[in-house]
């Protein structure tokens, strides 16, 4: 970073040159450069010129202060400029203007004036302190001031005295007479300002703004008049807003908001009224307004018009803002849980009747029952495996199956079902096991199982598609609908015995669905036999078609596969 060159060297002058020489040097140098191409150089040149001119000015007049365009904020009560008196005709406007200004209603809008006067007269008797913010704001009626104004020899001193007369701490509102006097003074001052030149106008504006801001809130009734005359609202929110004017603009905004929110149609009207009620939040509060409205209102007020919060009841605000308290302590919660669950358990146990103890049979009845069971079992086993096979035989080969059949028999006889039904149930069970065994066997046994299945499938198919489906899925045949021909039954029995001998009638935990690819030859055979379309056949092969289709296709495929000699045969058979 290069050291900043002193202005004289940048301009190429000797120290102590006068303004004319400085300007000349700047001009020459400026014409030599192109500012757009070298903005930094231009900035340096400019700065050097400003600095040099400042130095030159100070050197020329060492005693006088540097003239400032910015008017200093007036100290309170003292007119900063030795301005001629009002009476001495400083305002040299024509007579027409003078007449106009003195007429009522010039330039002053009826504003949130008379706040304090109303407060005084309408204040609730309870409050000992006259709080200017306690009352609801009321619009002042358009009371025009008297046509003749007593001329004030020193309007500014008078106004100052009225507003700040009793020292800084006087916050009492102006009473009627004082207010009228203050407004007249202000009007005279404003008229003076309107007719003054720029410097004087500026000075008056600053003085009025500072006075009003300092005498706040006592000066509130005068705000609107002054603000309209000086157009302070145009400066609101701008970067160069002067502090006193910013303060007054914010207060004015607060008034406007206050008036707006009293309109029942305002969205925060209900929240506003609610927050003004004394005391903490009560049950009805929830009905009046919502928490979110209250929050938004408070955020807005706190951010923009903090003084309006004085109008709200602090207890109520605090109670609305407190976080919801539903946190039960951990220990308490635990004990509550324990007690509750114990109570629940107790209730359940009390409501359940005790399991009745089994009824005792007399020994004779018991014997009869046993005999009955034995007979039934015999019949069942004969139905399943053919005559000559009893429980002992089965127990030796498939003990688990024997157990199952026995318990089934017992249940059925106890329930009082006839032997025939018991036998049927047993044979169904065995058949199921028989078909399930196709996963475990191969070769000739598999062949015979599948041929048997095919035959039985055809039987089932004859009764109907639903039965066929039931058979395919569960291997159950409804005797009421289709009785197995004896030949088939015999075959079944023989096969069951063989499988029992081989110990293959074990239950399968879960039959995983098998899939196999069907060669085109078989598919075309199926198509020929069933006379269905290829789409339906395809769907049926996935068991997605209608029952009839599924049945027909399965049967045809099984038949075709049994006649088929290819290598997929076994895989396909196992899926069917």
């Amino acid at each position: 970073m290069s050291r900043r060159r002193p202005p004289w060297s940048v301009l190429g002058l000797d120290a102590g040159a006068d303004a004319g020489a400085i300007r000349k040097a700047y001009a020459t140098r400026l014409k030599a450069i192109d500012p757009d191409a070298d903005p930094a150089g231009f900035a340096r040149l400019r700065e050097a010129r400003e600095a040099a001119l400042r130095l030159a000015r100070r050197a020329a007049k060492p005693d006088e202060p540097v003239p400032e365009a910015e008017v200093e904020a007036a100290s309170v009560g003292v007119w900063p400029y030795a301005a001629p008196d009002f009476d001495a005709g400083a305002a040299s406007g024509d007579a027409a203007l003078t007449v106009n200004v003195l007429q009522p209603g010039t330039g002053s809008a009826p504003a949130p004036a008379m706040i304090f006067a109303q407060a005084r007269s309408a204040a609730p008797a309870v409050t000992p302190i006259v709080d200017p913010f306690a009352a609801v704001i009321a619009r002042r009626a358009n009371a025009a001031p008297a046509p003749t104004i007593a001329s004030y020899p020193q309007p500014r001193e008078r106004l100052h005295a009225l507003l700040l007369g009793n020292g800084e701490g006087d916050e009492a509102a102006l009473d009627e007479a004082d207010l009228v006097a203050a407004q007249d003074c202000l009007r005279l001052i404003l008229r003076d300002a309107v007719q003054a030149d720029l410097a004087r106008h500026d000075a008056i504006e600053e003085w009025v703004a500072d006075l009003l801001a300092e005498a706040w809130p006592r000066s509130a009734p005068l705000l609107a008049t002054a603000a309209d005359s000086f157009r302070w609202e145009a400066e609101a929110g701008k970067l160069g807003e002067r502090p006193a004017i910013a303060f007054l603009n914010a207060r004015r905004k607060g008034y406007r908001f206050q008036e707006a929110v009293l309109d029942p149609k305002h969205i925060y009207h209900k929240a506003w009224l609610e927050l003004q009620r004394p005391g903490r939040k009560d049950l009805l509060s929830r009905l009046r307004t919502t928490r979110s409205d209250v929050d938004k209102l408070l955020t807005g007020i706190r951010r923009n018009f903090p003084e309006l919060e004085n109008h709200l009841d602090p207890d109520r605000v605090a109670s609305w803002q407190a976080p919801a308290r539903f946190r039960i302590g951990l220990r308490k919660g635990w004990w509550v849980f324990v007690l509750l669950s114990a109570a629940v358990r107790l209730a359940i146990s009390l409501s359940q009747p005790d399991a009745a103890p089994p009824a005792q049979l007399s020994p004779q009845a018991l014997l009869v029952q046993q005999q009955q069971q034995g007979r039934a079992e015999q019949a069942a086993l004969a139905a399943a495996f053919g005559p000559g096979h009893d429980r002992t035989w089965l127990e030796q080969r498939q003990p688990e199956l024997a157990q199952v059949i026995q318990s089934n028999v017992r249940l059925q006889t106890e329930a009082g079902n006839p032997d025939a039904k018991v036998a049927r149930i047993a044979s169904d069970l065995v058949r199921q096991r028989l078909f399930e065994a196709r996963d475990a066997v191969k070769g000739d046994l598999l062949e015979r199982i599948m041929r048997l299945r095919l035959a039985e499938m055809k039987v089932a198919q004859r009764t109907g598609p639903a039965d066929c489906r039931a058979f395919v899925q569960t291997a159950l045949l409804d005797p009421g609908k289709a009785a197995l021909p004896d030949a088939l039954r015999r075959r079944e029995q023989v096969l069951a015995v063989e499988l029992a001998e081989a110990g293959k009638l074990t239950p399968i935990e879960r039959r995983t669905p098998r899939s196999a690819t069907v060669p085109g030859r078989l598919v075309s055979e199926v198509l020929d036999v069933t006379h269905l379309s290829i789409e339906r056949v395809g769907a049926a092969m996935q068991h997605k078609a209608s029952d009839a289709d599924n049945c027909a296709v399965t049967t045809a495929l099984l038949q075709a596969t049994l006649a088929y000699g290819g290598k997929e045969r076994e895989a396909i058979l196992r899926t069917l």
């Binding site: 300007r23 001009a27 900035a43 309107v194 720029l198 410097a199 929110g237 701008k238 970067l239 951010r303």
Partner: protein, 569 residues
């Protein structure tokens, strides 16, 4: 050939630099000022200038005035069943001015210097440039109106001056500039203004004052709004002009068969315009404050713009400054003359010694930021200025910003132009985003540099010193890119309009004026005017140039007579 154009709200003018002088070019009617008015009817017949202004009373739906106020917006004006943007209408005026130059010099100008109010924002300036392009003119430079007037002021004056103030109150805009001239340098120290304050507002105030007085029964309210506004406006304009010289004038509105009138005094007018006069003060104070110059230290107050002729305004100025303003420049011509001088400088005419103009940036430029308030909450949309207003351009300024949240992924800077503390009150020019590495809040700093050059081009550079990542953005209006098709399209649309041949311009203007007078008068006068119109039409149909010229002269004479006398009774 380079021409200088003053494209004003109410009146426009064109000037050229020739033989060491800035010379205003007369239009087809021999006037040096052309009203900024356009009228297009359903058959696409177009009138520009005084004729269009005269048509305002009879065909308010087909006529547009003061469209400079719509520049930079997307508002459309419907004329003759078609929609036009403000740029199109301005382009029509520019084309008429260009034709005037061709007539006057025999050379077709291809380049121009156009003036804009100093307080015109970015969008408005770009719209003006586009209007020039649509009119077939290459806009070499846009120059601020007060600066142009300053150029024209004391050009012959070789002495150095203390800073002077240019007070430019035109038809629709108000500009104040504090200018210093020395050693061939014209240096603008500060500018301020109000884009919504001009002679039109005085008319509106007078109309608002007089409407209840002339029409207590409310007959005017029954008229369609455009017509009512046009009638009141014209009545206000006429009364206002009269009040410039006399103490009492008549405010007259004539429509259909009714005639409403009432007297108005200068005092009434002054009182009605009180709020407007007050508004004149703000830009002056702002400009002086920004330059740190005392009003007493000004060497002259230069008045520019037709509205400064009003005694009301002159009195206010005299009050403000405690002295009388300077009247060595012609308020209506100064801006056009200044534009011609700038054109001559650009063309490097040898009669002009080198004059350098340095200007200022009239608006504050900055970005939006987030502030923490006293409660610890975040306040979004706070405007952080980077280039303060009235800094000399070209200028380059830097400001530093940091992240506000942990692990922030990017920093987005929205660029704004304006004076409000909240960005919602400012105009957004563009946006630039830079990715940041994840870090706790406040650890990443970004350096944002704004570079604003004298043609009004803003360039933004964002650098993260920690990572060395940079981003750059040049604020270019999307429509400003050489989008040939768009401009060609607008030009083609305007080329479909039918214009009167130049030779018949005077006849056209005379006819328009006669028709307006027909509306203005009633009873006997109206019958007379009707007869004159019929005669003139007959002469036109004969196509005999001598006869037409005679008939026109007679018509103009009659109209002058009747307008001077004023309505009888």
């Amino acid at each position: 050939m380079l021409i200088g154009i003053d494209l004003g709200t109410t009146n426009s003018a064109v000037a050229i630099w020739r033989d060491g002088l800035a010379e205003l070019v007369p239009n087809a009617l021999g006037e040096r000022l052309t009203p900024s008015a356009v009228s297009i009817d359903r058959q696409r017949q177009t009138w520009v200038g005084a004729a269009a202004l005269d048509r305002m009373a009879n065909h308010p739906d087909d006529t547009a005035t003061s469209f400079k106020r719509l520049m930079g917006t997307d508002k459309l004006t419907r004329l003759g069943g078609q929609d036009y943007r403000a740029e199109d209408l301005s382009a029509l005026v520019l084309m008429a001015l260009r034709d005037d130059v061709v007539r006057h010099t025999g050379v077709l100008p291809t380049q121009a210097v156009i003036t804009v109010p100093a307080y015109f924002n970015d969008r408005q300036r770009k719209a003006t440039r586009r209007a020039g392009q649509i009119a077939g003119l290459d806009v070499r430079r846009l120059i601020n109106e007060p600066t142009a007037a300053a150029l024209a002021f004391g050009l012959q004056d070789k002495e150095d001056r203390e800073p002077f103030l240019v007070f430019d109150l035109g038809g629709g805009t108000f500009d104040v500039s504090v200018v210093e001239k020395f050693e061939g340098i014209v240096e603008v120290r500060g500018s301020a203004g109000d884009n919504r304050l001009g002679g039109d507002d005085f008319n509106a105030a007078l109309a608002a004052l007089m409407q209840p007085r002339i029409d207590p029964a409310g007959a005017l309210a029954k008229l369609p709004e455009a017509r009512r506004r046009a009638l009141l406006f014209r009545a206000a304009e006429q009364s206002r002009r009269q009040l410039t010289t006399v103490a009492q004038a008549d405010f007259v509105v004539t429509f259909d068969d009714t005639r409403l009138e009432a007297p108005v005094t200068a005092e009434d007018f002054e009182q009605a315009c009180g709020p407007i006069i007050r508004r004149l003060r703000d830009p002056v104070v702002r400009a002086l404050r920004d330059c740190a110059i005392d009003a007493a230290g000004l060497s002259a107050i230069v008045l520019v713009g037709g509205a400064t002729r009003m005694p009301l305004v002159r009195r206010a100025i005299a009050r403000m400054f405690g002295r009388f303003p300077d009247s060595s420049v012609h308020p209506d011509h100064a801006v056009a003359q200044g534009a011609a001088i700038q054109a001559g400088l650009l063309a490097r005419d040898n009669a002009l010694d080198e004059v350098r103009i340095t200007d200022v940036c009239p608006f504050t430029l900055g970005v939006d930021t987030i502030e923490r308030d006293a409660h610890g909450g975040l306040h979004h949309g706070v405007f952080s200025p980077i280039i303060e207003r009235n800094t000399p351009v070209p200028v380059s300024r830097v400001n530093f910003y940091q992240t506000v949240a942990d692990n922030q992924k990017k920093l987005q800077f929205n660029i704004y132009q304006g004076e409000a503390r909240e960005v919602s009150g400012n105009i957004q020019l563009g946006s630039i985003t830079i990715p940041v590495p994840p870090r706790p809040a406040g650890e990443i700093h970004a350096e944002v540099r704004f570079s604003y050059d004298s043609s009004g081009l803003l360039e933004v550079d964002v650098v993260l010193p920690d990572t060395g990542v940079t981003r750059n953005l040049v604020i270019v209006d999307e429509e400003d890119r050489p989008d040939r098709t768009e401009i060609e399209g607008r030009r083609a649309a305007l080329a479909r309009l039918k214009f009167h041949p130049r030779e018949s311009a005077e006849n056209v203007a005379a006819m328009a004026r006669a028709e307006r007078c027909y509306e203005d008068f009633l009873g006997e006068e109206r019958a007379m005017i009707s007869a004159w119109i019929a005669e003139f039409k007959g002469a036109l149909e004969s196509q005999d140039p001598r006869r037409i010229a005679d008939a026109k002269a007679m018509l103009i004479g009659n109209l002058d007579e009747i307008e001077r006398i004023g309505p009888l009774g």
